[in-house]
């Protein structure tokens, strides 16, 4: 049993063998991974020690106190939050060995090739095709000797594709069965021929997302994740982890979008009006309460009793970000008529607080769309949490190729 004392001992050993002050950043991170102190709840040999997830804080606190470098988790949110747990659960031993270490240390960044122009909220309707080169879909189950898949299609809203080494990809491998059944999950090499990443300029002026065109991209069968045709189930692991990642953040008071507008209110009394005061106080309270709910959710996760609040947190933060940033633009008056910079940039990560109010207002419009629209999440809460009857389904038993598009 790995307990807190054992983790402290191992952390001290790591620090003694690789003093942060004199060790190269990447070397330190690799040593940390090899010592099982990267994510302690992962298995031994894969960056962990099979310890309770709740003990990660012990390691993090010791390393932070010693001034050790971190793996800059915001740069690889999709890799750490979504690709890694999916690979851990469904990957082969070879896949786990190959991908998890460079992912965790940040040498290799990941993106997610899920959404398509015709498949957003209805993600399982996706049309990107993956065809076995050595035969048709009917022979997939017996073909275990490797060989290639040939992928054709278009993905959209791919954050960070321009920085990514790898992508998690879902594609249709059997059009003759209902839409959820004919999907397979792959790991796609973003440097392969046929992968064409094009910046998608957005409402904010920048290109944080991309369109990704896949033309005759060859993916070896050894990069299939999970069984052929089982991709939807594999993707559920990814999507559930996405919502946990969004809801499980730990924020200090005023740590979110309410921070900058509260600061402006304090610093610039000449901007204050009675109407804005009432709205600001209400949003301040709502932000503090949402923060407490997120903290409660985190405490439940640590205690091993995950609650259903994750989907709800995303709904709450989307609304709050939009209302608060809208109020901030109004508060600024004449300055609210201006915008910091319309230059098309391709940022490595989304940084709400590094830009100004107008940017925050426009970017936050995406919060109720990305990672599942608020309307779809409300359905999920109603059906899975409250147990209300599901929406009538007309596509359930129809082969994908026969669906209206």
């Amino acid at each position: 049993m790995t307990d807190a004392a054992e983790l402290q001992r191992r952390t001290a050993e790591l620090l003694a063998a690789h003093p942060p002050a004199t060790t190269d950043r990447l070397d330190f991170l690799k040593a940390r991974f090899d010592a099982g102190l990267a994510w302690v709840h992962y298995p031994e040999g894969l960056g962990g020690l099979g310890a309770p997830r709740s003990l990660q804080v012990v390691v993090d606190a010791e390393l932070e106190a010693a001034g050790a470098p971190d793996n800059d988790p915001r740069r690889n949110g999709i890799g750490l939050g979504m690709a890694a747990p999916t690979i851990l659960k469904y990957g082969t031993e070879e896949q786990k060995q190959r991908y998890l270490r460079p992912l965790w240390v940040g040498e290799e960044i990941w993106c997610q090739l899920f959404s398509e122009p015709g498949a957003g909220s209805d993600l399982a309707a996706l049309g990107t095709r993956a065809v076995r080169e050595d035969g048709g879909p009917s022979r997939l189950s017996e073909a275990e000797s490797g060989g290639d898949w040939v992928v054709n299609g278009q993905k959209v809203w791919t954050s960070g594709a321009h920085n990514s080494r790898w992508a998690i990809l879902i594609a249709r491998t059997d059009p003759d069965v209902p839409k959820h059944a004919g999907i397979t999950y792959f790991i796609c090499d973003m440097t392969d021929p046929g992968v064409d990443v094009r910046p998608l300029r957005q409402i904010t002026g920048e290109a944080e997302f991309n369109e990704v065109f896949l033309t005759d991209v060859r993916i070896p069968d050894s990069r299939r994740l999970g069984e052929t045709g089982d991709g939807w189930r594999v993707a559920q692991t990814t999507l559930n982890n996405e919502r946990v990642a969004i809801g499980g953040m730990r924020l200090p008071r005023e740590g979110g979008m309410i921070g900058p507008v509260s600061k402006t209110w304090r610093d610039r009394p000449e901007l204050r009006t009675q109407d804005l005061h009432q709205r600001l106080l209400k949003l301040w309270v709502d932000s503090e309460v949402a923060r407490l709910t997120a903290e409660r959710l985190r405490q439940q996760l640590v205690a091993g009793q995950p609650g259903p609040e994750g989907a709800g947190m995303k709904l709450a933060f989307a609304r709050l970000n939009q209302e608060i940033s809208g109020l901030e633009v109004e508060l600024l008056g004449e300055e609210g008529l201006l915008y910091d910079d319309w230059t098309m940039r391709r940022p490595e990560l989304v940084d709400f607080t590094g830009r100004e109010a107008g940017y925050r207002y426009l970017r936050s419009k995406g919060n109720s769309i990305e990672g599942g629209t608020s309307e779809v999440l409300l359905n999920i809460v109603a059906e899975r949490v409250l147990g209300l009857p599901a929406e009538p389904r007309t596509d359930k038993d129809v082969a994908w190729k026969d669906l209206a598009r």
């Binding site: 304090r266 005061h277 209400k282 709910t293 903290e295 147990g387 209300l388 009857p389």
Partner: protein
Amino acid sequence: MSAQPDLLYSEEEEALRAAVRDLLADHCDAPGVIARTESDTPHDLAAWKALADGMGLAGLLVPEDRGGQGASHREVAVVLEELGRAVAPVPYLTSAVVATEALLACDADELLAELASGRRIGALAVALNVAPGGAYKVVRHEDGALHGELTAIADARAADVLLVPADDGGLYAVDATDATVTPQVSFDLTRPLATVTLDGARGRLLGDAEAAVHRALRAGAGLLASEQFGLAEWTLTETVRYLKERKQFNRPVGGFQALKHRLAQLWLEVVNLRAAARNAADALATGADADVAVAVAQAYAASVAVHAAEEALQLHAGIGMTWEHPVHLYLKRAKSDSIAYGTAGAHRARLAELVDLQAP
């Protein structure tokens, strides 16, 4: 800011919840509560006796060496969640929390122990709508006797002893038999108000009124959020249950997306309220950050409890408008709670000072 608040429930707290819920299922079913509101004795003193005498819950906030259970606001919050779920007509918040906190601020150990045992019920003679730190009415202290009239005193009719602030700055204990307590026709039938008239009543000086009243109202406001959470959670659960059963247009009504989204939205508010109420209870128990935590909880709670009760009524449709269905008890309690111990607006104004977001 200090360490993170503990927002979960302990195993002991869950066991306490189960015991209180069982007791209320036996004592306080909805038809019984409705019948009682129409009688001359709106308070359920049998349920009170079971909670206070049987389970020792009246003394949770009182240290063991002063005759209580030596528990904390966290346990009291769990009791109040359950009392809110049942809209139980017992003077728990008013006696075991508000009056008890006032006595804890004074040097009044004998009376404190009596309240803690549940043998006597206390009521702070301050109008129910006064916020912590807000102005309240006092009576005249003259020649060793008290004179004056105080209105909107919650649960005064059930009280054996009234804690009365006077114009000399003192807080006095007055036996209910020495005062005239006249019921007011109250909007909330399950937490009725009364007028207290003192005509030369003898009072025993307990201590400084201002400090005691402030402490009492702050605890009352903070823990009221747990009652509001319990109330909101019950109305949401009942409404979801009903909408799964009730059919119109040959479908369960709960399958219509317009209603599903409203209920999902309400669920989110209720989940948020639980975190805010839990935070207030924990802050009151530890003493850290309590003013902000109470103001946040009360600025948030009122609209959620009222919204939950209003949605329950609308979504029960015709049956929700009837006297037999208990949803009206919940709406009346929720609306009354939205004023009790300060409105959301009063708590937002307080918060503006506490977190330095000053008015123009």
